[in-house]
Amino acid sequence: VTHDPQPLDDATLVRFLSGEAAPDEVARVEHWLSVSEEHRAELEILKIVWESRPKINADPDDSMWRWISARMRESAAANLESTKPATSLLRSALAPPSRRLLSRPVHQIVAAAGIALFLIGGGTLLLRRVESGRARQPQQSASTMREVVTRRGQRAVLDLADGSRVVLAAGSQLRIPDKFGVPATDRDLYLEGEAYFEVRHDATRPFRVITSVGTVQDIGTEFVVTALPETKGLRVVVAEGSVAIHGRNAKSFAPVMGDPRANREPLLTLRAGEMGFVDSLGLSIQTRRVNVGAYTSWTRGELVYDGTQLREVVPDLMRWYDIDIALADTALAHRRLTATFSDEAPDEMLKLLATALDLRIDRRGRSLTLYPRTRSRLDPGPVRPPATPQPTRSNLESLSAEKAS
């Protein structure tokens, strides 16, 4: 190979064989071919190498499809059986669900007033009627609302009467006034927790998301609002269009019909690709550009982290997987995780987490404790006293977990 008088570089040859070579590269290959019979023979062989290997039938007796279709029937049947009392209550209170809807693994519940609700993550959804008279917004006249509460491990998709869609994250609560969607009425929703909004814009009916920290008003858009306890404020990420954020006090927010709202100054206005943050007191305000996908991925069932500190990841995991997580060492909180959890079972997710951050996980039911896996703490070192006491049970466990990695 080295004594070849006219070597041809491999990168050019790859492009030539793949039909991607530029004209001058083709010319070089043709020249190379013209130099010797040896080169032409080599190219003939490489062309064969470049052809695909024949396909094989991976499953001649069709057992894979039979396995899948059996599970499809099973999960449809299981959903019929797992109807829990609370769900029954819900169903009886609402339009009777059709057989087809019941048979779906993702529960679909058609709620009153044109709201369609899809529950992901199983279990039962809390849906109740509440009086909002003494609600956080004193200006709001007393009216009944429906309240949708997702538990940990659940997620709900709501198609609202006005054509807008809300994806409610785990451990969150959304209140929908009964008059929502009525023509010529403001579209106000009350959120605690996290939700993604795809708004059907209507300039005559402002769409607002009201949280304890402030109010997010859409200007024709898709956005994520996060007002979780650990957020310690209000976080808004805009995927499309733009939104305005108003503070919660009456001066900056006066939801009285007929107000010249355009004149009120918002705390901040966000455009697509931007994240805004307002702290609980409405004092600290920040805006920066972010990778929107990382903030909306949960609506597609993915949790995406890109150098995120563990202290921010842990509350998410607790909500999404319905587990409790404690950190054995506060230094762990600052370890940074880059990972995508898509549809992993909790065990798989934990294995990935342990591997990624070099952790040892102690598990008792749904309660987990994360330990740093630092060799120095486990390994007594090369100089071992001759009369070593028997290792304790917890030591042994640590060591075997160590080996498992």
Partner: protein, 206 residues
């Protein structure tokens, strides 16, 4: 829409636009709960995905399980299922993620279970005979090629196979393996250099 380069290597489908349309109709059908669309999609990808998973897992049964689990999961989550980009690249990536997860589990279980040193290599060993084994006599060109390919470093072999056997474009391979397009190109060049060397050896033996 995907750039035209995406389809350059898919010599398999002579009409890429109609292939894309069919893929889109499958996705829409599955999301709407259409059993037939789901079955058609499964049958269209089954052989390729099992072959790909098998190349990673070195077990036909494990590969079948990974692929059937993936499709069941898609069906169960169909209301939320939104594959971004080309469907085939999505399915390869999902298959790969699941295969790698399974490999990690196997490794963890194995090292837990016993310390028998022969178990771990067996997991990683190929189903084809080790080409570096001098006892293997390579007679014809076909088996010389398959030995040379099998002897590629794992990552290099994966890139090469996705490109040549599965007709994925470089950018699709980059998406599937979560590496840069540049890395795909480098691995393809490495693969070719390796194959040229090995096959030159084979020819000189004649």
């Amino acid at each position: 829409m995907l750039p035209s380069r995406e389809f350059r290597l898919s010599s398999d489908s002579s009409c890429s636009d109609s292939a894309t349309l069919i893929q889109q109709s499958w996705v829409a059908g599955v999301r709407a709960g259409d059993h037939r669309a789901f079955e058609a999609m499964f049958r269209a990808y089954r052989d390729d995905l099992v072959a790909f998973a098998e190349s990673l897992l070195r077990s036909h049964e494990a590969a079948q399980e990974v692929v059937q689990d993936l499709f069941l999961r898609i069906w169960q989550m169909r209301d939320l299922w939104e594959p971004r980009g080309a469907l085939n690249a999505y399915l390869y990536r999902a298959t790969r993620n699941r295969a790698i997860m399974r490999l990690r589990q196997q490794r963890a279980e194995l090292s837990f279970r016993d310390k028998l040193s022969h178990v771990e290599p067996a997991l990683m060993a190929g189903s084809v005979p080790d080409p570096s084994d001098s006892r293997v006599v390579v007679a014809d060109l076909e088996s010389a090629i398959s030995h040379a390919v099998a002897d590629l470093p794992a990552r290099c072999r994966e890139v090469f196979s996705l490109s040549r056997d599965h007709h994925l474009s470089n950018s699709q391979i980059a998406h599937v393996m979560q590496i840069s397009v540049k890395t795909v190109e480098v691995q393809m060049t490495r693969a070719l250099a390796h194959l040229r060397r090995r096959l030159a050896d084979w020819r000189s033996k004649d």
